[in-house]
Amino acid sequence: MKSSDKPIVRINKVTKNFGTVEALRNVSLDVNPGEVVLIIGPSGSGKSTLLRSVNKLENLTSGEIWIDDDLLTHNQSDIRKIREEVGMVFQNFNLFSHLTALENITLAPMVVKKIGKDQAVKIAEDLLARVGLSERAGNYPDQLSGGQQQRVAIARALAMNPKVMLFDEPTSALDPEMIKEVLDVMLQLAKDGMTMLVVSHEMGFARAAADTVVFMDEGEIIEKGTPDEIFDNPREERTKKFLKHIL
């Protein structure tokens, strides 16, 4: 039914207003299965808003977003179904502070998917091993470093077995020495074929893992291309100017 070149995320003419401010202006973007899309742009350019719209943490003013043939509507049960299929990783990790690393991961599978505790724990242990934190299963978020918290947060999102993963500036709240451990996990995820939408300015990750780089400014997509195209030969003036600041 689904051919691999059919987009798994279709963002179609999306507009989002906060009062009088236009955060997103007529944005369209397709993401194919297995594609890693990196979104860059100055702060306030709408990149986080776009990402948060994909799992409906933001309501759109107009336009539509399709996830794997399901239209994101206002219907609550549909939104929940979409959210089960779209994992999200936040800038500030947002681990549940009253739960251990393991319990953070088992909560959603048990509550949302009604998976039994034994099976949920097994899934969680496998995922913790995958992000290299098996020995931290019993620790509370406060007892983990930022990098460790973010790796647990990635494992927590993966536990729902999502088709798409969203990363909202996953490394910008981290100390420099912890960035690599998180990026390594993300790189591995990309290699394993996960579809990823990433808001980040990590150029190393972009070169190594991104298939597509999208440059946004003032709520619009200015330019889109492969990492080499965008970073080495940007066509637009605004892209050039922005890249000069961050490179």
Binding site: V111, V112, Y140, M160
Partner: protein, 261 residues
Amino acid sequence: MAEIKKTRIEVTDGTLIPGKGEHSVFSAWRIAFFGAIALIIILPVMKPDPYFEILKFIPDGVLATFKVTVLSILLSTLIGLLAGLGRISRITLINRIATVYVEVVRGIPLLVQLFYIYYALGKLVQVPRLTSAVIAMAFCYGAYMGEIFRAGILSIPKGQMEAALALGLTRGQAMRRVILPQTIKVILPPIGNEFIALLKDSSLVSILAVSDLLRRGREYASTSFMYFESYTMVALVYLIITLFLSRIVAIMEERLGRNEK
């Protein structure tokens, strides 16, 4: 009680909650607590009549006070949780009902409410005195508890709810499994304060002919004419109970805080 948006909320019309640093031998709490215990032992020994007689007379009252307090606490916490959730509800009707309830209750003195509910209930149904006293206390304290629940829920960072929703939980599930468990830690000190305040205010039910601690003391005084002696013992018993409870609240607070560190 204005809107408080801090992680640690202090609503102080209860007793002083001992600070964590207060571990010296002569802390205020120890002086008050052990002083009261010493008095309640020494007085009856030195002057068995009337002090020992009074001490023998009031245990029934202590039991009634505990009954009213514990039942009111349970019921008012339940009402408070509902009122707090109602106050933050995005459904306008529920929000208004909860807000009006809180405004009305907080605008009427507890003593007046006790009288009012007691006699209003009496017109409708025949309930035991203790039951109507508990309902009146819980109805009033539920409003204060509601404001504490509300402030506590709002003090939890927004990202916690977002993360739960992003994982596919419903709002209700996120509230039950993620937000409320964290809220309880935050609101424990003010709730503990309310419990202690409630225990003290339970003395008001003595006017509803409930034989609580204060009423038993008054009964003894009115037959023996030993007013000063009777109320001395009543005050000491109240003091010992509330100081004891305030220590328990402090210990619970420390325990709950520990697993985060």
